[in-house]
Symmetry: C2
Subunit: 147 residues, 2 copies
C-alpha cells in the first residue's frame, strides 16, 4: 500500500514516539530493579502478562476486531484466512473468557453472534497498533508514495 509522504512521516513519527515511550517505561522499571524485583521477576511478569497472547491466532483475532470492528463468526473466518472453524471457535471462547472480546447473541431467526472488543481489548489493540505498523513498514507492505 502506498501512502503519501505526509502520512508516511506521521506514521513514522508516531512509531518513533512510541519507541521513546517504550524506552522511558523500560528505564522506570529498571530503576526498581533490586533483590526482590530483579530481572527474574520482570521476565516472569512479562511472560505472564503475555500468556494470553502467546498462542497462535489470539493476537490475530484481536487485530482483526480492532481493524475491522465487530464481526460475526463466519465473517471472521473469511477474514482470518487459514483458520479452521474449530480453532476460531476455541480461540474466541478463550478471548471472551479473558475479557478481551464480548460475545453478543442477537436472537433471530437466524440467530447471529457478534464478536466485538471490550474496552480492555480495544486498549490492547491500540497498544499493539504501532508495532503492527512498524512491521508493515519493515516488510515494505506500506511504502511512501513515489512521485
Amino acid at each position: 500500500m502506498e501512502i503519501t509522504h505526509e502520512d508516511f512521516k506521521k506514521v513514522e513519527t508516531a512509531i518513533n514516539d512510541v519507541k521513546e515511550e517504550g524506552r522511558q517505561i523500560r528505564s522506570i522499571f529498571d530503576s526498581y530493579s533490586d533483590e526482590n524485583f530483579g530481572i527474574d521477576w520482570e521476565v516472569d511478569a512479562a511472560v505472564d502478562a503475555f500468556s494470553i497472547f502467546s498462542s497462535r491466532w489470539t493476537i490475530e483475532i484481536l487485530a482483526t476486531l480492532y481493524i475491522a470492528g465487530e464481526r460475526r463468526f463466519n465473517e471472521m473466518r473469511k477474514l482470518l484466512r487459514g483458520i479452521s472453524s474449530r480453532t476460531l471457535s476455541d480461540k474466541l471462547t478463550k478471548c471472551s473468557e479473558s475479557g478481551l472480546v464480548d460475545r453478543v447473541v442477537e436472537d433471530g431467526p437466524p440467530i447471529r453472534v457478534i464478536y466485538r472488543l471490550t474496552d480492555h481489548g480495544r486498549d490492547a489493540g491500540r497498544l499493539l497498533g504501532p508495532l503492527v505498523a512498524y512491521m508493515k513498514i519493515h516488510q515494505d507492505r506500506v511504502v511512501r508514495h513515489s512521485q
Copy 2:
C-alpha cells in the same frame, strides 16, 4: 511491584500517549481503505506482519532479551522457566533467521554463545514495551505505592 505515585503516573501517561499514537496510526490507515486495500488486505497484512510472533515463546524471548540484555543459552533457559532446551534452541534459531536476534559465538574454551537483540529486535521490544506495561498494571503486578 510497588512504584511511586510519580512513576506510576509517568507510566500511565506514556501508555495513554501510546494509545493515542495507535489511534492516529489506525485512522491514517483507515483513510486509505478502498477496493484494493480494504479490510481484507489490512487483516492479511497484520496477520502476516505478526506471523513471526504468533507462536509460543517468540515474544517471550524478545521480551527477555529486551529486559535482561544479552544472555547466554543456559541463562535464557533459567529466565524463561518452563521452556525446554529443545524448544529454546529451535526458537532462537527462528528468531535469528528472522533478524530479531544475533547469535554471537565467543570462542573459548569453553565456547560461549551470546544472544542479543538486533536493532530490529530492539525496536520491536520497545514497541512492545507499553503493551507489556499495560498488561502488568491491568493484572495488578505493578501497583501505585500506598503511603
